[in-house]
């Protein structure tokens, strides 16, 4: 176990991240096509963003990856593993961490319990204690509030908690759904810093965001979704200067 600079201990493999390959993913909800046969790759240790207006299908994509909504088509591979038949509650054992849109912390439980539950898939003991320590190091405010009911935390703190909870399982791929939602600019900055640090540690990231700026700064490549399809892809650095992005968002 080597302790890298970012503080998140890696497994004894050279890099923590893993490649996610998505082919022709489709999602239908009762007659509506939310995601229409999209394909993309998140490389080992790479951070990819999915941006687009509301209703574009971004959240549906993440939920479909986790199996929380049924996929009507497509294949998902993590590294060499075929994830198509993996049940939603097993995804975490395959190394996929998930930070849901709207945080979804266990409001009636204290912060520390929330974090420990993040490591549900592992035995609770020394290892989880260590993971806990690392999460507190990454998010000092959580350490201060460890005994508080998580429902009493502010939006930004809950977001930190949701990310920390997902990290407790030592994921190799982290899916984040609109972590900046409802947060002010300073908190969004904090989130950005956390994401950059996770990138540094070699974690593969798939970030869904309505806040395009955050996505451009946190990721290396982005997909722009519109009406369930991928309208544009490209390096973040290029997309941020592309007027077509603004047009897709603001309808101009």
């Amino acid at each position: 176990m080597t302790r890298s600079a970012g503080g998140i201990t890696q497994e004894s493999s050279p890099s923590a991240g893993v490649t996610l390959t998505v082919e022709s993913l489709s999602v239908h909800y009762g007659g509506v096509c939310a995601v229409s046969s999209i394909s993309f790759v998140v490389g080992q240790g790479q951070a990819v963003g999915i941006i687009g207006a509301n209703g574009a299908g971004k959240t549906s994509t993440l939920k479909a990856l986790m199996g929380l909504v049924p996929r009507s088509g497509g294949r998902i591979r993590l590294g060499t593993h075929d994830l198509n038949k993996v049940a939603p509650h097993e995804m975490v054992r395959h190394g996929v961490g998930y930070v849901p849109e709207g945080r979804h912390v266990f409001a009636g439980l204290p912060v520390e319990k929330n974090l420990l539950l993040g490591a549900y898939a592992r035995a609770w003991g020394k290892e989880t204690d260590q993971a806990l320590a690392e999460v507190y190091e990454l998010f000092p405010v959580l350490g201060e509030m460890r005994g508080r009911l998580s429902g009493a935390l502010s939006g930004g703190q809950q977001q930190m908690l949701a990310i920390g909870r997902a990290l407790m399982a030592r994921p190799r791929l982290l899916l984040l759904d609109e972590p900046s939602m409802g947060l002010g600019p300073k908190l969004v900055d904090d989130i950005l810093r956390v994401l950059l640090r996770l990138r540094q540690d070699g974690l593969s990231l798939l970030l869904v965001e309505q806040n395009a700026k955050l996505a451009f700064e946190a990721t290396s490549d982005c997909l722009v979704m519109e009406n369930g399809k991928v309208a544009m892809t490209g390096p973040a650095a290029e997309l941020r200067h592309d007027t077509r992005v603004r047009r897709i968002y603001l309808g101009l």
């Binding site: 009762g30 007659g31 509506v32 207006a53 509301n54 209703g55 709207g102 429902g151 009493a152 939006g155 609109e178 900046s180 939602m181 409802g182 002010g184 969004v188 309505q210 806040n211 395009a212 700026k213 955050l214 009406n227 941020r240 200067h241 007027t243 992005v245 603004r246 047009r247 968002y249 603001l250 309808g251 101009l252």
Partner: protein
Amino acid sequence: MRYRVGALALLAVAAWVLPYRLDLYAVHVVDVAIVFALLAVGLGLAMGIAGQINLAQIAFFGVGAYTTAILTTRAGLGFWPAAAVAIVAASLTGLLVGLPALRVQSHYLGIVTLGLALAFVNWITNAAVAGGAEGISAVPVPPLFGIDLASEYLYYYLELIAFAVALAFGLFVVRTPLGRRMRAMRDDPLAAAAVGAEVPLLRMTAFVLASVYGGLAGILYAGLIRYVAPETFSIANMFLLLAMVIIGGRRSLVGCVVGALGLSLIREALADFATFAQLAYGIVVVLTVVFAPTGLAGIPARVRDALRHHRRYAAESATLQPFQPFDPAPEASTVRPAVPVLEIRNLSKRFRGLKALDNVSLIVAAGDIRGIVGPNGSGKTTLFNVVSGLYKATGGQVLLDGEVVSGTRPYRLSRLGVARTFQNLRLFGNLTVHENLLVALDRTPTRSIWRYALWQVGVWRHDHELRRQADELAARFGLENFVEAPPGALPYGIQRRIEIARAMASSPRLLLLDEPAAGLNGEEVRQLAEIVRSIRDSGVTVVLIEHNMGLVMSLCERITVLASGAVIAEGTPAEVAGTPAVIEAYLGDSAIVDAAEPITSESAG
């Protein structure tokens, strides 16, 4: 139609001659079965039609039977006067049981009604006037113009007539505005309130109806057996009744009858194996609930669906017709009145520490199409929910045409002329499209329920008028090919249009549309814009929340932008699109604007 009348006539004749083929014991069994069928109809009305868990039905049965028995044997009343009092007593009990339904639902209601049923059994087992555990015997034979009703054969005809009338009335209620409102309330109380259904009163009504049927069943029972004892009104029998209704199909009154008659007869056939019978119907209840929730009555529909291989209803024959624009409002009313249709003053809404709305103020003048936009979580739907009465504001006021309406319940707001659609589509899934429209078209206040008791012709006429209006409305929105379909089977775009049609059914002056374009393709969005413009031209003020910026920019005259619960910009589309604060709220950085082309006249939409 003719087929139905013929079948009914055949059934009536068969029912009339039935006793001639049966021996005394069999007639007795049938007589008891009819009593249970009556009970089942009452339970079906409360549970299946109105969606109220009613485990006190057996108590209503008991009140009817015991009141009759007590008054005839202890107070010396004649049978029929006693029966009249019994019905009143049963309805009062229904009112009493309905009171908790105003505050609690689902399992709480289940336990309260069950508890009251147990309390009733407890009382009759102990009270001296009720004869204690031995019950009351020697209830006199009901006198009827010299007909000897001690004969079970003749009693059968009394029951048959009473049952036929009761069932007919039940079906009448179900197929007319009251029944539809109850069914809408069952499917979605929120949406029902939004289209004008006064939910609490409807719940009470359901219980009173159930209790009247229960009371009637009790009276007939008392007159038939002429002996009442606590065992008949036990919880075990309540669960048996429940099983009848579930297995038969609680949503269909005829299903309830079939379940009751069927289970009664089977129970009788298995009288020697009573416990096995109980085991069997318990298992069937579980299986029904898991595999066939609509019961026996739902089987024809399921067979039909299976044969259709789940084909989409919008097959070759059923297509969406073009929208027919509303007649524009006469000139006089388009002169803007001084008072704005909607005024929101310093509105705040907190949810346990989270500030969803922060001092929001806005004014919508009559005849405007106003857009409300903003990133996810900015409070748009919360704003709608406060204006339409679903939430109570923590601060500030909402004024409709100058009158303060903050805190008004949704159904009342609907009567005042506020209509809305919902972000996640809230159509009444178990009603047809036609019925969805009918519910919203019904503008009568709940107190007009008295007409059901005393002036059924008025109800019938009203229903006809509503149907005519519904046909018109459906035609206007191009839905005439879909009116008999359940909305859930239809394509999404059509469902969205149905919801708008339903909202317009209440002839509102203010229409709130929550993300009407979500999930629509380009052509459908274009049609939506045309519909909204026509609605406005007919004199309705429209406020819409949208994420489809192209639609907002082209449709709305003014736009209000919300972010983090507060208004950050307001103005014409062009003004708003160029405001850095707006761009920052959406894209996270107004700097993106600088790096991009300046807004030219063509991109201003």
